[in-house]
């Protein structure tokens, strides 16, 4: 099979809350291969946010190993983690997290500002390219307030793509959007996954959204309870077409 992008081996994460120790993850193991579209599902309290933070190199496991693209993050310093996030991960958040009063293009350029190896011209070229990939090239001068929710999320996806990461990590990326726009975003995700071979890890609690992915990892109480391949992936494009054309009234 393909190269392993993520190797998660018996990860445990404990938090100290006063005198009590909360065990958010109690030994989670799974691998993600290049080109997969994985959804991580679970209700609140299942440890999915903790796992997401570890996958995104924002947090380290208390026990166990996490290898991102062959690098074990357990031994890395804060600065090395920052560098890893900059080069290997593209984040997409529920609340978009775009800089206000800043054009779409500049928002997309942002991660490249923290990469010294990229010149001014390259930065601009890559950002325009990423905006083209999410079909927003003609709106690159718009600020977030001039864009709809779906468009803002597409700018955020372009920002996640711009540094050519090994994995896109989406955190409830459709949580703030209506059904139609959610499907549009999922159609875009599927397209990036299929046509450009991007590895996507999508954290969500909506089973509806999970149906669009090729694999689902289900968490409950800090443990993996189900890890299934999705045999018949639902096409977001078709789902979109099946929606009533207009629900205006």
């Amino acid at each position: 099979m393909d190269k392993k992008i993520l190797e998660i081996q018996q990860i445990k994460r404990e938090f100290r809350m006063g005198t009590e120790i909360v065990r958010a993850l109690k030994g989670v193991s799974f691998d993600v291969f290049a080109g997969e579209f994985v959804t991580i599902m679970g209700s609140s309290g299942s440890g999915k946010t903790t796992l997401l933070n570890i996958l995104g190199c924002l947090d380290k496991p208390t026990e166990g190993n996490y290898l991102l693209d062959g690098v074990n993050i357990g031994q890395l310093s804060r600065n090395e983690l920052a560098r890893l996030r900059n080069r290997k991960i593209g984040f997409v958040f529920q609340a978009y997290n775009l800089l206000p009063r800043t054009s779409a293009l500049e928002n997309v350029e942002l991660p490249l500002f923290y990469n010294m190896e990229i010149s001014h011209e390259d930065r601009r070229k890559k950002a325009i390219h990423a905006l083209e990939a999410v079909k927003l090239a003609e709106r690159m001068d718009h600020t977030p307030s001039q864009l709809s929710g779906g468009q803002q999320q597409r700018v955020a996806i372009a920002r996640a793509l711009v540094n050519e990461p090994v994995m896109i990590l989406a955190d409830e990326a459709t949580g703030n959007l209506d059904t139609r726009t959610s499907y549009e975003i999922m159609a875009l995700m599927q397209e990036l996954n299929r046509e450009q071979g991007k590895t996507i890890v999508f954290v969500t609690h909506e089973p509806d959204i999970a149906a669009f992915s090729s694999r689902t990892v289900m968490l409950r109480d800090g443990k993996v309870v189900k890890d299934t391949k999705n045999e018949n992936v639902r096409s977001a494009k078709e789902a979109l077409a099946a929606l009533p054309v207009s629900d205006d009234y």
Binding site: N53, G56, L58, D59, R78, N79, A82, R83, R85, N86, R87, F91, F93, A95, N97, L99, P100, R101, T102, E106, L110, P111, F113, Y114, N115, M116, R159, N163
Partner: protein
Amino acid sequence: MNVLNLLRIAFKALLRNKLRAFLTMLGIIIGVAAVIAMVAIGQGSKESIQSQLSSMGSNMITILPSSNVAGGARLGGTSVNTLTIDDVKAIRKQAENVSAVSPAANSSGQAINGALNWPTTIYGVSPSYLDIRKWALKDGIPFSDEDVRASAKVCLLGQTVVTNLFPNGDNPIGKIIRFNNIPFQVIGVLEAKGQSSFGQDQDDAIIAPYTTVQKRILASIYFRTIYASAVSESASDAATDEITSILRKQHRLRSSDEDDFQVRTMAELISALSSTSNLLTILLTAIAGISLVIGGIGIMNIMYVSVTERTREIGLRMSIGARGIDILMQFLIEAIMISITGGIIGVILGISSAKLITIFLSWPTLVSESSIVLSFLVCAATGVFFGYYPAQKASRLDPIEALRYE
């Protein structure tokens, strides 16, 4: 992360909030402008005092009659007559540190030229007076020792007297004017000397041989003042001591007697006046400096608000690869940019207000480069000092919590 990128990031962040950046700058702008303008006023007044004093002759020594005790009552200096021509001659002959001496007997009165008249003062002096006062002739010739000996009725006119007695630009040389009904022939016109530091018009004067003034106007053998010139500015103290001992001998004072004269040098006046204006400069600068510190506190306050308000932005930047140092530098550079931009505007504002003060209030001002450089450095330091703590707070945020901050 390179410096250019940091500058770009900080600049863009400031542009996103122009009004707030400007309001924060305002404290610095006012502080710097105040420092520059205040120092300019202080320096300007000091400079003008010093240039006036040196134009008066900084090695000049003035000898005045002093208070005297007569029958238990102390008499004021001006009412005492102790200085005579013998004193002048003794100083001229004996004092080695004195290069020139001139007595001065003055009287006020009315100067008349035909139908025009003007109230002024006549100064009876010897020819060396012009050297001592560093006063040049604009036209004509000075009077000579021969004129003094002959009590010649010749005079030199100050500019103010010329303007008032010869208003149509007539050449006064050779003309006869009358002072207290005594005719004088004008043989020279003096250069304009302007106001003294006490606001007195020095050009409102007629200068004549002292013998003429003493005999024909005052009918007195005493002088109001003796002017002397030390060989150099540094010799003025030695010259003062010499003059004191010569005059004590001249006046036959016993060692228990007080001096019946006073010897004053310009050095005393210079140091007295410049210490006053130094004090003024220090006071003004201190006040202006306080306003600069307040400006700095304003920066700190706003940077704190900014860090709190932009917690999510900080979280985002960290999640896409910004290190702690990148965030620290971003906020520090923002603070420095605010303070330096404020500093530049403040310098411009300070210089122009100093100019306006000179134009509208006609106060002398002098914008010194050192005050510009200094306030600029203080500005940058203010930015670093007051920007560091908020920036450090920002750089230590936990990205996970920062991203979820509401």
